[in-house]
Symmetry: C2
Subunit: 152 residues, 2 copies
Amino acid sequence: MRVSAKADYAVRAAAELAAAGDDGPVKGERLAEAQDIPLQFLEHILLELKHHGIVRARRGAKGGYWLARPADEVTIAEIVRAVEGPIAHVQSTPPEDIEYRGHSEHLQEVWIAVRASLRTVLEGVTLADLVSGELPSVVGELAASKDAWVAR
Amino acid sequence: MRVSAKADYAVRAAAELAAAGDDGPVKGERLAEAQDIPLQFLEHILLELKHHGIVRARRGAKGGYWLARPADEVTIAEIVRAVEGPIAHVQSTPPEDIEYRGHSEHLQEVWIAVRASLRTVLEGVTLADLVSGELPSVVGELAASKDAWVAR
DNA sequence: GCACTTCTGACCAACAAGGTCAGGAAAGTC
DNA sequence: GACTTTCCTGACCTTGTTGGTCAGAAGTGC
């Protein structure tokens, strides 16, 4: 139930690419500096994003990375899935495939609801939203509550 | 962003205890059988739940486990936290403590929203809800959508 | 004293997390 | 064609987590 460093890094790098827009490719080194991410680790992450068709790249002088699609068509969910795999799997299998018996029968619905609520947030926010700071109202309201900021 | 076997097992065992109510202590062996959980592994989990004050136990003949509090006062969130630690930490630190720079500034709000949405579901459902199948309306609605049941 | 059941720590194999290192392969420049 | 730049790839490494098992100690009821 935690967010890995890899996923956090991936989204941050992607945000930086979204902000760069069409100003030519951005070097890995610049992304690493801008977001304070270990360069070699970041390169592996960017490669994964490339394999998933989220990012494109060119080598050599004047080379670098850029988004494969417009920033308002790339959601955070996509990026997280690319580096972490499916969201909210239980025991490494999707919740709809698990069979519960006895008195835990309705637990399946709970895990489904967990996944649905995660999707609402992660699929609702695009890189364009993230960079502009104009989050969808559902997400903005969740983050606006004072209560959401206290540890528990 | 996944639910561990341990957390799943813990909730299932707790549900079984909730269903047993005041009918005396339930043996670990019976819980293990009812929910098809490896006994020795389950005993470690139950011990953790005991340390967190969620469950109580007695040894010897006529011994077993029972809930420390009424089933409608124990939330799924508590159980998950007991065995998995804090919910939705990023890079093992709470999202409110991370400092984001550059164009990823608003990512913090996104992770806060992720945590808030998880809390809504997990803190909203008690063991009594789970056993009766009468989930809170927010959770029920999330799980009711056809879309929530398809993989992505 | 004995059967029963929880409690506890040690151990274990496999895998993930979070990286580092070394070199290969394109792309552009001179 | 040589050289530089930058991405691409695989190998490796340390530490911790996951999902368990094993053996025995210790409390409880009869």
